[in-house]
Every structure is written in C-alpha cells, then in structure tokens.
C-alpha cells in the first residue's frame, strides 16, 4: 500500500474497501481477549480455520474467521459470533467448530446447545442478552467487531475520518472548543474536564513557545480492572487517532503511550497499529498532505502502580525513578522535560474522535449533565455475569449489578460494590440507587476511578476487603512521603488486629483519625485516596467492625481467627467428600452417618464447605 497523500485518497480507499466487501459474507468472529484466550480461544479459532478448509461451504466468498478483541462477556468465554446471522455462541470448545460450520455456516441454522440461556430463556443474538442489552457501546463499538491487527477493518469502521476532518477543516481552537463543548471528563480517575486541560496547555504553549507533547496513560493497574487493556487491544487505532487530534490542537509533534509491561497483547497490537498508520502516512511527516507532523512511541512501564499517577508517569518516561512530584505545576504547564504536556487516559483519547465525528452536542446528550458520555467498566466479583461493559453515565449502581451483572448467584442481594479500584470506596446495597457519575460517587465517599467495579456478597468480610486493598497499596507505595509509606503499613496493623478479634471501639475511632491524616497529608493521589476503602467501610459497615473487636466474630465467616467450621448432623448424609478433601484430615465419621470436624486441628480453609453437596458445613 502506498502512502495516502490526501483526504480524498483516504476516503477513496475507504469506499473501495466497502465496495469490495460482500455484506452476505459469512464471518465467524472469535473473541481473542485475554479472558477467552485463557480458556483456549486460540484453539477455537484454529479449529474453525481447519474445519473451513476441510469442508467447502457453498458461498460466493469463502467464509472468514476473524480474530477480534474482547467481546465483553468474559464469564461465558470463549465467545463466538457468526455474522450475518447474528448468532451468539458461548463457552465454545475447539470440538464445537465443526458442528458450527456444518449447522450454521452451511445451513444457516443455530446450534441450540451453544446459545446463551439465562433463567430458562435462550438467546440467539448477543443484542438480546440482558448483559449486552442494557449497554451502550460507543467507545467500544469496534472492539470485538474488527480485527485489531487489520488496518482495513478499522478504516471501514471509520478510523481516521475525524483526524482528516480536523486537519483539513478545523483550527486548533475549534478542536478544543468542541472538546470543551462535549463536557468530556478524564477517564483515568480524577474526572478533570478534558477541554479545560487542553485549553490550559495551549495557553501555556503560547506564553512559552517550544516543543510540547501528548501522552496516553495506559498504565492501568487496579486489581480487577481491565478497561484500558480491552480498548488498546481491541481498537488501538481509536487511541492513536485521538492522540493525533490532541496533538494537532496543542501543536505537538511527538506522543507517547505508556503501557504496563504486563499487557503484552496491548503493546503488540498498539505497536502493529502504529507501524500500519506510519506506513500509510497517517502518522509521521506531512500527514494526509496537510503538513502536520506527528508520531507516537510506546513506552513500556515496569509495572509500578504509582506510575499511573501523571507526574510519576512523566518521571518514568524521562528515565527517572517513578515517584510523583507535587502539583501545581500541572503537566499542562510543566510536564515532560519541563514542557506543557497533555496527558490523558487512553479511554479519554478514544472518546475524542467520536466527539469530532458526531459533534459535541451529540456527545453531551449521552449520560447526564456534568458527567457526559459513556464509561467503560470492568464488572467483576460475586456476580453471575462478569466482563467488560460500557454504559451511559448516570445509570444506577443497582442496575449495573443486577440487570447487567445478573446479581449475585444464590443470594437475593449484593452486599457492597467497590468502585474506583483500591483507591475507591465500598458502596453498600442500601445505596444501590446511586447514579454512577463523577459527582454522585464522590458524594457517597467513593470515586469513579478508572472504572473497576468489584461486587461483594454476604460471604465477603469488609474488614478483610479493606485489608486486601490496603495491602496492595502498601506494596505499591513509592515511599517518597511518610504518610503513605508508614501510614498504609500502620493502618494495616490496625486491620490485622481487628481480623484477629483484637482491638477496641477506641481503635476503630483511632483508625478513622489516622485514615483522615493520611488522606490529608499524603503527597499524591495514591496516599490521598488509599484510606477510602477504610473510611467507607467504617462509615457503612461499622457494625461489622464492632462484631470483630467486641464480639470477636466475623459475620461473613472469612477472618480465620474468628471462625469455626462445623457440620450440621441433620443435613449431613455422610458421603465423605469433605473428609477426603480436608487437607488436615480432621473430618471423620462413619459412612452414611453424620461426620464431625475436629476444631483443634482445623485450619479453617473452607474446602469442606466448598465441596459439600448438601450445604451441611456451617461457618460461624
């Protein structure tokens, strides 16, 4: 392919690609997101290719097996969609490929047993499945649809149309005005108005001319969060295009994407996308013949959580130790190498081409005022349906968990939702009508964060959950400031005591006071938000804290020092499964007679409870 010299050539190429495509061509879309890959999607894709080679399908064009990014419904993987029939298959195994080829591709019929069913209803199309039905895919519209390694796919889906529009018909000021008008807020966590950030940066460049930079923050590191990864893997060109538009607005010629090394697939796909765009002149010098130069380099992070903080990220990009520095000055004033820098989350960047293409008013119409647009969440935890979702801002927490997530299996209500990752807050069931937008979440003591959403059920202990997140942050603290380096460790000391049933009501109040000191006294947002899980769990679940320290009980049956396992003799049928499973060998009993646990030898691992087919093992 030759370099595309102008917009007319780009549009001409797009049209020719559309014209060459047969709308009736059979396409098997196999999800190659990491979730499905782990479940063997690679082999599923190979099996389809082999099956298609072995059997000739009577069609005008040979059917295509398309390896796409994440389809979202991770708990049902490996996922396969068959177009144009719009059939949606779940938990597909390599052995199923032949049957799908025979039944669906050759005869146009559905393989009933592989369709998704929920509560007795069987769904043919993904769009009917409750998990997808409630969603509004805007940023993720191409993820799972296009092959991220084929530029032609992205071009047909409209990639680089917005960049062409910006370069040929808009001034940098008009671009910024449009982003401002959309009300887009940063998707990385803090929710700062993107347009305002850009305006601020541009004003600083005018005052102080010289080189400037744009940076894409893909250093997502929250436990249980994989929104940015999905986006970078599934539609890398959207991120590149957004950054190119931002670079044009700022007058930057160099961009960096900071991706953590633990995301090899994202790094590979972004790297291939950059090479493709460069080869066609969509990145590099004289883009589309407009005289605009811009290139992007990928920087691999070594996996430090704190490097997601923008000043630490910049330090890491410059080759210094990844430690934050106090703001102001903000990166928009003094960023990379002391120059004005626009640094946005990759999800924020991916929103930009949509705003340019469809208009600021259209975008502002999505979501709610002050939190416009849609947000990608990774919905995980004790849920029937888990995976990646995209919903309009302002949807309530309860609808996300119960309607999209399908609720907690076997329980009528969830206990709490942790939004915003380890720096976020734990929102109880009672507040399930809280709209998910920046301001409402802040009001209940949590944050939007980058979009992790961890759902807990009655078997999760809030003290244990707070301990888990705090432990994560303690390991990830850079150690530059004392409240964070020593404070997280000290808060953990309190929680460790509570988990053993030690401590007093006074200790809970002291912990609250310490948490406030750390929140107020820390240098960067890592320490500043680290106490959130503690503050919110004490606020909403104080009873559970009191149960630990006063009654020496863990109501959820998690904290090992406070629980005992026993067997209900009325329910136990003496199958002996628990006795065979027990690693301590401390369960005994005659065949077909109630068994008993020797509490003195029991290590409270809970394996007997998980194994018991009749639910006779109790924990208290």
């Amino acid at each position: 392919m030759e370099i595309i010299r102008n917009v007319a050539e780009l549009e001409g190429w797009r049209e020719s690609l559309h014209a060459a495509q047969d709308p009736e061509r059979l396409v098997v879309r196999v999800c190659l997101g990491p979730g499905c890959l782990a479940l063997g999607a690679n082999k599923v894709s190979q099996a389809f290719q082999a099956a298609l080679k072995a059997k000739r399908i009577r069609a005008r064009v040979q059917p295509l097996v398309k390896e796409t990014g994440c389809h979202g419904f991770c708990s049902q993987g490996p996922l396969v969609n068959v177009d144009p029939f719009d059939l949606f298959y779940v938990k597909v195994k390599p052995d199923d490929a032949e049957e799908i080829v025979d039944t669906t591709l050759a005869r146009g019929q559905a393989v009933e047993r592989l369709l998704y069913s929920e509560n007795g209803t069987r769904y043919r199309s993904a769009s009917e499945v409750p998990f997808y039905k409630m969603q509004q895919k805007v940023v993720l519209k191409n993820v799972g649809v296009i092959d991220p390694l084929r530029l032609e796919d992205a071009i047909m889906a409209g990639a680089y149309r917005s960049l062409a529009k910006v370069l040929t018909s808009m001034t940098p000021d008009e671009v910024i005005a449009k982003v401002e008008g959309s009300g887009l807020r940063g998707r990385g966590g803090a929710g700062f108005l993107t347009g305002r950030k850009w305006r601020f940066a541009v004003e600083n460049v005018r005052k102080n001319p010289g080189p400037v930079y744009v940076v894409g923050n893909g250093d997502e590191g929250d436990p249980g969060a994989f929104m940015d990864r999905t986006l970078m893997e599934g539609d890398p060109h959207a991120v590149l295009e957004g950054m190119a538009i931002g670079a044009y607005a700022l007058g930057a010629h160099q961009g960096f994407i900071y991706v953590r090394m633990e995301y090899p697939l994202a790094i590979r796909n972004l790297g291939i996308a950059i090479d493709q765009a460069r080869a066609l002149g969509l990145l590099g010098e004289n883009i589309l013949g407009t005289g605009f130069n811009f290139d992007i380099k990928i920087n691999r992070g070594a996996g430090a959580f704190v490097c997601g903080e923008e000043t630490a990220l910049i330090a890491s990009l410059e080759g210094r130790v990844g430690e934050p520095i106090p703001r102001p000055p903000y990166p928009a004033e003094k960023g990379l190498w002391g120059r004005p820098t626009i640094i946005n989350n990759v999800e924020t960047w991916a929103n930009v081409p949509l705003i340019i293409d469809k208009g600021a008013e259209w975008y502002a119409g999505l979501g709610v005022p002050h939190s416009t647009g849609t947000k990608i969440f990774s919905l995980v935890g004790k849920l029937r349906n888990t995976g990646i979702i995209e919903v309009p801002m302002g949807i309530t927490l309860g609808r996300i968990v119960e309607e999209i997530g399908g609720g907690v299996p076997g329980q009528d209500r969830f206990k709490a939702v942790q939004t915003g990752g380890p720096s976020g807050g734990c929102i109880p069931y009672e507040l399930k009508d809280t709209p998910v937008d920046y301001d409402s979440l802040a009001k209940v003591g949590s944050i939007m964060g980058s979009g992790g959403m961890i759902v807990m059920d009655q078997r999760d202990c809030v003290v244990d959950v707070a301990r888990y997140f705090l432990h994560f942050l303690e390991e990830e603290s850079c150690g530059k400031c004392l409240p964070c380096r020593l404070g997280l460790k000290s808060m953990l000391e309190y929680l460790d005591r509570f988990a053993k049933g030690q401590g007093s009501q006074q200790d809970i109040d002291d912990l609250h006071s310490l948490a406030r000191a750390i929140m107020k006294g820390s240098l960067c947002a890592l320490g500043g938000t680290a106490p959130n899980p503690i503050l919110t769990t004490i606020q909403y679940f104080k009873d559970e804290y009191l149960a630990h320290v006063v009654d020496h009980k863990c109501p959820a049956g998690v904290c090992r020092d406070l629980i005992t396992y026993s067997i209900n003799p009325e329910l136990c049928n003496g199958c002996g499964l628990c006795a065979r499973t027990c690693p301590q060998g401390c369960i005994s009993g005659e065949k077909k007679k109630p068994h008993t646990i020797d509490a003195s030898a029991c290590i409270r691992c809970g394996m007997c409870m998980d194994e018991c087919p009749v639910g006779a093992v109790l924990v208290a």
């Binding site: 303690e474 390991e475 530059k480 400031c481 409240p483 020593l486 000191a517 750390i518 107020k520 006294g521």
Partner: protein, 209 residues
C-alpha cells in the same frame, strides 16, 4: 462575592511591587513572589516543624510535618508548606485541627519506625507525642528515608555517592549496587544534614573506609 473581588483587587495591588500579601494564623504577611509558605512563615517567626527540609537543597515534601491548612475561596486544603509557593489572598493556618492530626500521627509512626533517633523522640515530645501504638520492628533504626543526605550529596557536593534504593516500606539509603561507594569523598555533608542522626551508623555502610 464582594469580599472575593476585593481580595482579588488587593492581590493585584500587592503583585505590583513584587510582593504577595496573604495571612498566616490571622496575621497579614508579605512575601516575595516565588517564596514558599514555609520560608515566609519562618521569616515571620511562625513555628512549623520539619525534618526533611534544609535550605541548602531543593525541598521535596517527604516528611509532611510542615503541612499547613490553606483556606482559599471558601475551600480548605492541607499542603506541605516547604513546597507550596505563596499565593495572594489565601489564609494559612499552621496549627489547625487537620494539621495537628497529620503531624501527631506522622510523629507517632516515626516513633515506631525510627525508635533509635533521639531527635525524633524530642520533636515528638514537643508535640505531645510520647508513646506509639505501632509495632517497633527494628529498634536500631533511626532513618526516616527523607533523602536529605542523598539530595545534599547530589545537589551540594555533586558526587552522587549515595542514593535511595528500593521503594515503599523497603526504601533505604544505600550506595549504588549495595556496595561501598568508591566515589564518596568522605566530606561528611550527609552526616551534617541528617535530621535524625541515622547517618552516623549508615555512613560506614555506604562509604568505603
């Protein structure tokens, strides 16, 4: 609104002669533009404790003992005064409840983490903190990892013989590759600036005899 406007106008007036006017604990003070709150407060005789600050090196805001509460447009924030530049019209509180809470907790944690430091014990006592609720894991430790020694070695001496190694709770003062530094000129600057006396036992570990 009227007061806000008046404040802004006032701010403009003071900026005219290169001075910034704001208040510390209710007392009106003037500072040169670009000064930090700590510099101004100390010059005016306000007492703000510090450990990681030394006028000879760039401040980094590590120990957070110098935090102050800053009231601006009806909003309050707590910031380290050693790295916060003065701003016209703000009200600075050096001993508000939020500030004291941060300081007392930091000192109590330091008592558990730098138990061997007499200087820290004395500073804590001056702030009414005499015991700690936290576990003392290393009774011989006196270092608070503020990096004043490494900054002085770099910025003042220019040798970079010592450095901060590791991170988080494992952060430590060390020489590159955990070896005795061969570029150390044994000038003793690190010993001089160390606020806790830790360098006295760290020095033989990092410098070649």
């Amino acid at each position: 609104m009227a007061t806000k406007k008046a404040k802004k106008e006032k701010a403009k007036k003071t900026e005219g002669n290169g001075l910034v006017r704001f208040s510390i604990n209710g007392q009106s003070v003037e500072a040169r533009e670009g000064w930090t709150i700590l510099e101004t407060a100390r010059q005016q005789g306000f007492d703000i404790p510090t450990l990681c600050f030394h006028p000879a090196v760039q401040p980094i805001g590590s120990c957070r003992l110098c935090v102050v509460e800053i009231l601006q447009d009806g909003r309050s924030r707590v910031a380290a005064s050693c790295i916060t530049p003065v701003q016209a019209g703000v009200e600075v509180l050096t001993h508000s409840e939020e500030v004291t809470n941060v300081r007392r907790w930091v000192l109590e944690m330091l008592l558990a983490n730098c138990p061997a430091s007499r200087q820290i014990r004395e500073l804590a006592k001056a702030h009414g903190v005499t015991s700690t609720r936290f576990t003392v894991e290393h009774p011989e430790d006196a270092c608070l990892r503020c990096g004043l020694c490494t900054r002085a070695c770099d910025e003042v001496v220019g040798t970079r013989a010592i450095t901060m190694g590791n991170r988080g709770v494992f952060k430590e003062v060390t020489a590159p590759y955990h070896r005795h530094s061969e570029v150390c000129i044994r000038c003793g600057t690190c010993l001089y600036v160390c606020p806790t006396g830790a360098m006295e036992y760290l020095f033989p570990q990092v410098s070649a005899p």
